[in-house]
Symmetry: C2
Subunit: 337 residues, 2 copies
């Protein structure tokens, strides 16, 4: 069986780690990458990612260039934006060529929430060319959506969903520490939250995915975010946080179903936050609780999910797919059913 | 949208509870049931299950009788045996009529392990008639197979799988308390285990499903079961256990992959067993642990899983399906892809 030909779109920290993991999997063959950064485009992927790829495996400045150089790969791994509409725009040439896309774009976890017309157009395109698109991740994409959805499989009747995730951000990447507002004055944090410059992306999409899987009609979504304030100095390789400054965020999103707060997702990501964990509680019969002590490790798990979903996507029907539409495992070559 | 027409095969405790839950779901319509027990066959389902079904909804002595009386339903819920070969035999008339089957048969969780030729024949039959067959449950079917498989989605590389389930059997049904050997002399327990009269069914199938989902080739499976001995008297509505007698079982199954014990499932089900829980640990990068404190409640969750899987099965391709081949959710009417 020939390996699956994959290419990368975006060589930030997650993209570079994904290329290393894909390069280590015998069933995948990395054929090239796209990054518009002039420091990367035009070089060999081996140089940029620090792995012994053949010298002909290049980083291209545009997707069109990559497709012309390598022909359409079977799968494009897309790690370049949080915004669904932009992601659709970026990957369209791949979908037109019949290449399927796995993306870390947070809004693509439930793209209809914010970009319904673009989702419809992209879905129609995929059905024409045979391509599929899906988004994965840890949050969104696992800890606060797939876990409660899996648990709901053994509930006679779910009456409410509560998820709590606590992340100690001290050892995480600089972009994450920046995204949670580290070092900001609390008022500046609130101002940047209103502008969308800080905060966790994809939270409403996790909630919408849960509601969709349960067959619940959402009447509304409320979202709020507050800074977590340092009471003593905190130092990371990237930030120096003084007492009174922001060391992270506490973000909460609530889904209203039939007038009731039926889904609540509660996220704290802060430097030095104690007791990190992921916990899911389903109300109903039976009540169910599920916990990941320590929490799902963000970066390793994000890269793993991106790669692991590839064979599961390739057996799905063409179109824009939700993670919940894929089979849980697809260990064999796709069968002709 | 018309409700899905379902029928029951087997009206034991799980079957009767399933008919009640199905009757309460607006998207399902119960059209009849099959049970060879003369105390049930020929009566109305309303009488047997204690629910206000129409009087014309009957319990039939055979599946052929039911099919003749109601026409083929879309789904048959099968709760009548633990043995795959017998289950295939029992449901064949339904599959021939194009009716899909959801079964609690433990061996059907991974039917090829013990009944490969029967699985092939049944799969071919399903593809001819458009029917699907899948098995669900809690154990096997959720706690010690689906949970580790879901967790593996966010692992870069799984090096080992360890699952532990502890059940306090004191409040469970009589058949379960009998199955775990309550009240037996320890030597009699060991004799009955060798004969297959006591013990947890489907354990090897859980292990085989995990190996399959991970793409691992099993070199061998070792299984052992020991009685858990009472040190003080234990009384249940069904059994009186004296000190020195069996109050439950400790069963362990290990899967060998490349010469290493790569999968270990460890199950204790005993009267009064403290600290019930389900725990999954994956070795690898990152190491992952997931716990259900108190454990997945057996009977409620078994019935729930049986019913909840129906729409997910009906969007799958015809054939004998594994639970891992179904989408995690199918909230809408099947689309024509």
């Amino acid at each position: 069986m020939l390996p699956t030909r994959v290419a990368l779109f975006g060589l930030g920290a997650i993209g570079r780690e994904a290329v290393r993991l894909a390069g280590a999997k015998p069933r995948l063959q990395v054929v090239g990458a796209v990054d518009r950064d002039p420091a990367k485009a035009g070089r060999s992927l081996a140089e940029v990612a620090g792995l012994p790829f053949p010298a002909k495996t290049r980083v291209h400045a545009t997707l069109a260039e990559l497709l012309a150089a390598t022909g359409p790969p079977q799968v494009l791994l897309h790690t370049a934006t949080s915004h669904a509409a932009l992601a659709f725009e970026q990957v369209r040439p791949a979908l037109e060529a019949g290449t399927s896309v796995v993306s870390t774009c947070e809004e693509l976890i439930f793209p209809r929430l914010r970009s319904a017309p673009e989702t419809d157009a992209c879905d129609a395109l995929c059905r024409r060319t045979g391509a599929r698109l899906v988004a994965t991740g840890v949050n969104p994409g696992f800890a606060m959506d797939l876990l409660p959805i899996l648990a709901s499989a053994v509930s006679r009747e779910v009456t409410g969903v509560y998820c709590s995730r606590v992340v100690d951000a001290a050892t995480r990447r600089r972009p994450l520490q920046a995204k949670i507002g580290c070092g900001l004055d609390p008022d500046e944090f609130r101002r940047q939250w209103r502008l969308g410059a800080v905060g966790h992306a994809g939270f409403r999409q996790s909630l919408a995915l849960i509601a969709h899987a349960l067959g619940w009609q959402l009447d509304g979504i409320d979202e709020a975010c507050e800074p977590v304030i340092a009471t003593e100095p905190v130092q990371t390789p990237h930030f120096q946080v003084e007492p009174g400054q922001t060391r992270g965020l506490h973000q909460r999103v609530v889904g209203i179903v039939c007038g009731v707060e039926a889904i609540e997702l509660d996220l704290t990501m802060a430097l030095g936050e104690p007791d990190p964990h992921d916990t899911v509680r389903l109300g109903g019969r039976p009540p169910l609780e599920l916990t990941i002590p320590g929490g799902t490790p963000g970066d390793d798990a994000t890269v793993a999910h991106l790669i692991n979903v590839i064979p599961r996507l390739l057996v799905a029907a063409p179109g824009v797919r939700l993670l919940t539409e894929l089979p849980m495992a697809a260990p064999e070559a796709p069968r002709r059913d």
